[in-house]
Symmetry: C2
Subunit: 183 residues, 2 copies
DNA sequence: CTGAAGTTTCAGTAATTATTGAAACTTTAG
DNA sequence: CTAAAGTTTCAATAATTACTGAAACTTCAG
């Protein structure tokens, strides 16, 4: 597994971005390598290509599997494990969004729900609770909406994305349509 | 500035989540404190309430200002700087999305554009480029779409969010409407 | 059943990132 | 203009997070 300069550039960059995307550098590199490699590759090949320790690769693969971003493959007459990316690029994006929502929103949402059950002790706490309610509603809105979006078929999602600012127009049409059907 | 247990719980939690949201612990705590505090407060009050160093507060305030999440206020006959949160909760969410897009997508998008200009040297690189194109298109799609969404008025955004899975239905209606107007 | 090949775990260490606090700088009341 | 009050910077240090590599474990061909 030698990487061409082009591939190396991409893999290294993905590593650097990894931490911003919610996983660490080596996990990012590993995933990038799997994305651009056609055939399934073994943990040893990954370790060799990226010059990282075998143990680290094993940990990283476990994490990528838990995110359901990669899949285990077996070759006939070979008991080694081979890996390849799982699903389309769209699936990948969905998984990443989902996982990040779990880490970044769910814990806060749950804490806010608890706090909002308390009775405010004074004016200061009353004001604080009002603000917290706003934050709560925002997070809940985003959470619900994003899970609705994930439920849409890829085609509809694609339509929606391509619509861009046209979304505004469609919303206007919706109002007209509803009015018409009520008449 | 003493914090009640309720407020402290929230502030500390926001600190812990901070790193997942793109800023560090103390910046998260500071922002949380500013969100739930009604009147503008000074840097010293923040340092005292959170038991963090004055220098750290100064850095954090600078960062929050660069995100446009807080605003400087002056009190008459007082040359101290006071701070308070800037804009609605919605504005806050927009700023955070915007800032994260800059950090998390723009650099990758720009790298991918560059790589895609290269001529693939062999079959392996050809396959890699095909994959990179997919990633590029996805990121570009998300980027464009999210900036379109930000351009929508808060009311329309709200409608869109409340629509939830109804989005699918509206898309169907759109098709019908277009058909009808073509007839 | 044995051992060779492969995989996983984890304690120790390295690398990175956040925080402090003291010194330098800025502002303005008097 | 001076000095007191406030603010900012940044080198040193602490805290956190990632990575290595050796040892323990697992699997299966022969």
């Amino acid at each position: 597994m030698k990487m061409t300069p082009m591939i190396e550039t991409f893999v290294m960059h993905f590593g650097e971005m990894g931490s911003r995307w919610g996983f660490n550098r080596t996990v990012g590199q590993m995933y990038a390598l799997l994305v651009i490699t056609k055939d399934p590759i073994s943990a040893n090949q990954i370790a060799e290509a990226l010059s990282i320790s075998r143990g680290n690769v094993s940990m990283g693969l476990k994490e990528l599997q838990s995110w359901q971003l990669i899949q285990l493959q077996h070759k006939p007459a070979d008991r080694k494990d081979y890996f390849q990316t799982n699903g389309s690029i769209w699936d990948m994006a969905n998984r990443v969004f989902e996982e990040r929502r779990k880490r970044e929103m769910d814990p806060t949402l749950s804490l806010l729900r608890d706090i909002l059950l308390d009775t405010p002790a004074n004016e200061q706490e009353q004001h604080a609770q009002d603000k917290l309610k706003e934050v709560h509603d925002l997070l809940e809105g985003i959470t619900k909406w994003s899970s609705e979006l994930q439920r849409l078929s890829p085609e509809k999602l694609d339509t929606l994305m391509k619509l861009g600012s046209g979304v505004g127009k469609v919303l206007d049409m919706k109002d007209k349509l509803l009015k018409r059907s009520n008449e």
